[in-house]
Symmetry: C3
Subunit: 365 residues, 3 copies
C-alpha cells in the first residue's frame, strides 16, 4: 500500500508541469490548431505515458495507431497526419513535431542543473594550466600540467584532463571523465561520465609468444559539437591521430580503436565497436551492438544495422546487416530462408526417397 | 621455481580457513549428515578447486559427476542427490545447498571491509545537502547541492551524487560511481564502481543532416534491493523516467537506454543492451551479450538466451534465442540444420542431376 | 577555409618530427639500406598517412600493395619483401619491421608524459598504508587502509586502491581506476582509466523469485606484465580467486567474470566477455566482441574469431568462429552456403515440381 503510494508520488514528480492553453502553446511553436484552442494543457509527456491534460507528439508515422489510444489531450503532428477519425483530442500542426516538442519540453523543463562559473578550491591545477573566462572547475577535478580549458567550459567533479590537452569553449565534461595527455577537443563538445579519451591503442609486437607494447604516441582529436556517451572508450593513435569529426554523436559503451577516423554527423549507437585504422564517412549510422573490422572503409550515408558485423568496405548509402554483413535485402532473404531450414532438410530427404523410387521404376522399365 | 612457490603462497592465502567438525557445520546449517560426522573441515572451496579437508557443495545436478572427482572431504547436497556409489566423502543434506554454502562462506570469510560511519573532511558537500545517521562519505566523494543520503549508506571515494538526487538507506555506492541530478534511489541498493546512472538519453532530431540534441529532462528511478554492476550505464528519460523495479540485478557493462522500464527481480547478465522505451517484466532473465530493440515489450518470466537479439515482443514465460530471436526450440532446430547446410547444398545438386537424367529417360520413353 | 587551415595545423602538429639521414636511422636499427642512404627523413608515419620525407614500415605482407602507393620516402621492410619494381623509395631491411619502427617512434616521440616521484598532499592515504620508493601518488588518489604500493609505481588522479590491496613495482595505474580490497597486482602492470578490478562476482541464489546475494569473498590476482584496457571489468571470485597470468593483454570494455583463470600471454580484444569459472590457456587470442560461456575450458594457442560465441571446450591450437562456435573452416563453409539459401529454397521447390510430374508420368506409364 505504502509502496504503491510512494510510486504514485514518484510518478507525479517525474511528470513535467505546465499551465497553458493550446493557443498559447501553438503561438509559441508557430503551429496551426485543429480542435479546441482553449483546452488547458498541464503537462508534456510521451505518447504512451501521457495522461488527460498532457500534450504529446507523434514523431514517427509508424506509431500513428498510438494517437487514438493515447490519453493525451493534445498531440503535436506534422501536416501528413490525418486527424479525421480521432475524437476527443486537439492537434497542433507543425513542420517538425519532434523539434517543436523538444522546444516545448525545454520551456517547461525543471530548472536545468547549473554549474556556476568558478574554479573550486578543491580542484587541482598543475603548472602552466590556462583557463578561459567563466569556466567551472568542480571539486576534485584535475587539470594536469599545461592543459587548457576554453571559455565557459565545465569540468565535472573528479574528471581528469591530461598534460597539454586542449579543450575548447562551451564544453560540458561530466564527472569522472578521463582525458589523457595531448588530446585536442573542439567547442560545444559534451562528454558523459566515465568516458575515457586518449587511452593507449591496443598494439603489441609478439616475439616468441611474448607481447611487447608498441608505443602509442599519437593522439585523439574531437571536433566541434561531438557528443560522447557514458563509459565510451576512444584510444589514441599509434602515431598521427584518432579523429572524430564535427557533429558526430556517440552513445554509451562504444569502443573506438586507435587511428580510426569518423566523419561529420555520424551516429554511433550503444555498445558498437570499431577496430583500428578504419575510416567511417559522414552521416553514417552504426546501430546498436554493431562491429566494424579494422583497416576498412565505410562511406558517407551508409547504414550499419543493429548487431551487424562489417568485414569489408561499405559503399556510399549502402545498408548492410548480418554477420558477415551483406546488403540488408540479401540478409533479410537469408534470414527468412533460415527459418525454413528444418523444413528444407526434411523435404530434401523426402525428395531423395522419391527420386530413388523413380530411379528404381525407371530401371525396372 | 620462485614463481611457482609464490603461486602456491597466493593459492594458500586465497583459500578460506576453517576448523570445524562436520557435525558442528551440520548443526549450523540444520542439515543431516551422511558419513563421518567427526571429520575436521579446514576450508571451504568450489568443487573443482577443493583440496582434502575442504567442504564444498553441489548446486547443479549437471555437475553431479564432479562430486566423485572432487578432492573435497565433504559436500553439501540436496536430498535428490544419490551418494550411493561415492566413497571417501561425507555429506550434509540440506534444502538449498547453494544458500547453505553461502552462509558457511560468510561465516569463515575474511573480515569484510568495513566503512566506518563518518563524513570525510576530504569529501565535498554542496549547499543544502542532507545526510541520515551513520552515513559513510569517503574522501573525494561529492554530494552536489540539495542531494540526500539515507541512514547508513556508504558513498565511496570519488563518487559523484548529482544535484537533488536522493539515495535511500543502507545503500553501498562503491568508488568512482557517477549519479547525475534528480535521480531517486531506494534502500539497500548496491552500485559498483564506474557505473553511470542518469546520463542523457541518446536522442537527436536531425535537420538537414545535422543532429540537434533533444533535451533529456526526465530522470532515473532505482527501487529497493537493486544491484548495478561495474561500468553499467543507465540513461535518464527524455521525459518521465527510466525505472528499475525492486530486486533486479544487473551485471557489468550493461547498457539501459532512456525510458526503459524493468520489472521486479529481473536478472540482466553482462554486456547486454536494452534500447529506448522498451518495457521488461518481472523475473525475466536476459543472458550475457543479449540485445533488445527499442519500443518493445518482454513479459514476465521470459528468458532471453545469451547473445540473442530480440526485435519483437516476447510473451510471458517464452524462451527465445538467436538473432533475430525466435523460440529457443526453433532456433536450436535451425542451428542444427545450419551445420548440415554445406552437405544440403551438395545433395541438392546431386538430386538435380538425377532428376535431369530421369527426365531425359522419361522423354526418351 | 579557416576550418581547413585549422585542420592542417592539427595534422602538422600530430606528425612526429625527425631530422636524420637514412644512414643514421639504419645504423640505429642495425639494418641494411636499399636505395639512397643520404635521403633526409623528417617524420615517421603510418604507410597510408605518410608524406614525402617520412619513413614508414610494412608489417604485414597483406599490405605490400600499399608500399608503392605510399608517399613515404623510405620504408622499413623485412628480407622477404621484394623492392624490385618500386621506384622513388629507399628501404631499410631489418629482422622485425614492426619492432624496429616502434623503436624509431619511441626515439622521436614527443616527450613522454612524466609522473615525477612524490605523494600529492591532495591524495588520501589510510591507516597502515605502505609505499615503496619513488612512487607517484596523484591528487585525489585514495590508498585505503593497509594497502601497499611498490617502488616507482604511479597511481593516477582519482584512482582508488582498496583495503589490503597490494600493487607491485613499476606499475602504471591511470586516473579514475577502481581496485577493490585484497586484490594482488604484480610488477609492470598497466591499468587504463575507468577499469574496475575486484568488483563482486554476479552470483545470486533465487528463493521464490527473490535473488539473494551470494557473498563474493574471493579476490583477483593480476600477474606481472599484464595490461588492462579502459573501462574493463574484472570481478573478484566467489571464493578463491579470479586470476590473470603474466603477460596477458586485455583491450577496452572487456568483461571477465568471477573465478575465471586466464593463462600467460593471452590477447583479449575489445568488448569480449568471459563468463564465470571458465579457464583460458596460454597464448590464446580472443578477437573483438567474442563471448565465452561459463565453466568451460579453452586450451593453449586457441584462436577465437571476432564475434564468435563459444559454448563448449576448445582444444589446443583450435581456431573457432561463429555462434555457436565451430571450427573456423566449418563456419566458413556454412556462411558461404548461407548466402545461397534463398536460391536453394527456390531450387528445392522447382525440383519438387519436376519430381511430381515425373511421378505422374511414371504412374501413367
Amino acid at each position: 500500500m505504502k509502496n504503491s503510494n510512494r510510486k504514485k508520488q514518484l510518478l507525479k514528480k517525474s511528470r513535467t508541469p505546465l499551465k497553458k492553453t493550446l493557443q498559447e502553446i501553438s503561438q509559441l511553436l508557430q503551429g496551426r490548431i485543429i480542435g479546441d484552442e482553449k483546452v488547458v494543457i498541464s503537462g508534456v509527456s510521451g505518447i504512451k505515458e501521457a495522461q488527460a491534460g498532457d500534450i504529446t507528439f507523434l514523431a514517427n508515422a509508424r506509431y500513428a495507431c498510438l494517437v487514438s489510444e493515447s490519453r493525451a489531450s493534445a498531440v503535436i503532428i506534422d501536416k501528413e497526419f490525418s486527424t479525421k477519425n480521432i475524437r476527443g483530442k486537439s492537434f497542433i500542426v507543425v513542420e517538425n513535431p519532434s523539434l517543436s516538442f523538444a522546444r516545448l519540453v525545454e520551456l517547461v523543463a525543471p530548472v536545468q542543473v547549473k554549474f556556476d562559473p568558478g574554479i573550486s578550491e578543491k580542484s587541482h591545477l598543475g603548472e602552466g594550466v590556462k583557463t578561459g573566462t567563466d569556466v567551472h572547475i568542480a571539486p576534485f577535478a584535475v587539470l594536469d600540467k599545461n592543459s587548457f580549458i576554453g571559455d565557459r567550459t565545465v569540468i565535472g567533479a573528479g574528471s581528469y584532463i591530461g598534460q597539454e590537452t586542449k579543450i575548447g569553449k562551451d564544453c560540458l565534461i561530466y564527472p569522472n571523465v578521463s582525458i589523457r595527455e595531448r588530446v585536442v577537443i573542439g567547442d560545444r563538445v559534451i562528454i558523459h561520465s566515465g568516458a575515457v579519451v586518449g587511452s593507449d591503442g591496443f598494439g603489441f609486437s609478439t616475439v616468441k609468444g611474448v607481447h611487447k607494447k608498441i608505443p602509442q604516441i599519437g593522439t585523439v582529436i574531437i571536433e566541434d559539437d561531438v557528443e560522447i556517451g557514458a563509459n565510451v572508450t576512444i584510444d589514441r593513435a599509434r602515431f598521427g591521430k584518432t579523429i572524430i569529426h564535427k557533429g558526430t554523436k556517440i552513445d554509451n559503451l562504444v569502443q573506438i580503436a586507435h587511428n580510426v577516423e569518423i566523419g561529420d554527423n555520424t551516429i554511433i549507437v550503444a555498445q558498437t565497436g570499431i577496430a583500428g585504422s578504419t575510416v567511417i564517412g559522414k552521416n553514417v549510422i552504426l546501430a546498436g551492438q554493431s562491429g566494424v573490422n579494422g583497416h576498412i572503409s565505410i562511406s558517407d550515408n551508409a547504414v550499419i544495422a543493429a548487431r551487424a558485423g562489417v568485414i569489408r568496405d561499405v559503399k556510399q548509402g549502402e545498408v548492410v546487416s548480418g554477420y558477415p554483413a551483406l546488403s540488408h535485402n540479401k540478409t533479410k532473404r537469408i534470414q527468412i530462408a533460415m527459418t525454413r531450414l528444418p523444413e528444407m532438410l526434411k523435404k530434401l530427404s523426402e525428395l531423395e526417397k522419391k527420386i530413388n523410387e523413380l530411379e528404381k521404376k525407371a530401371d525396372e522399365a
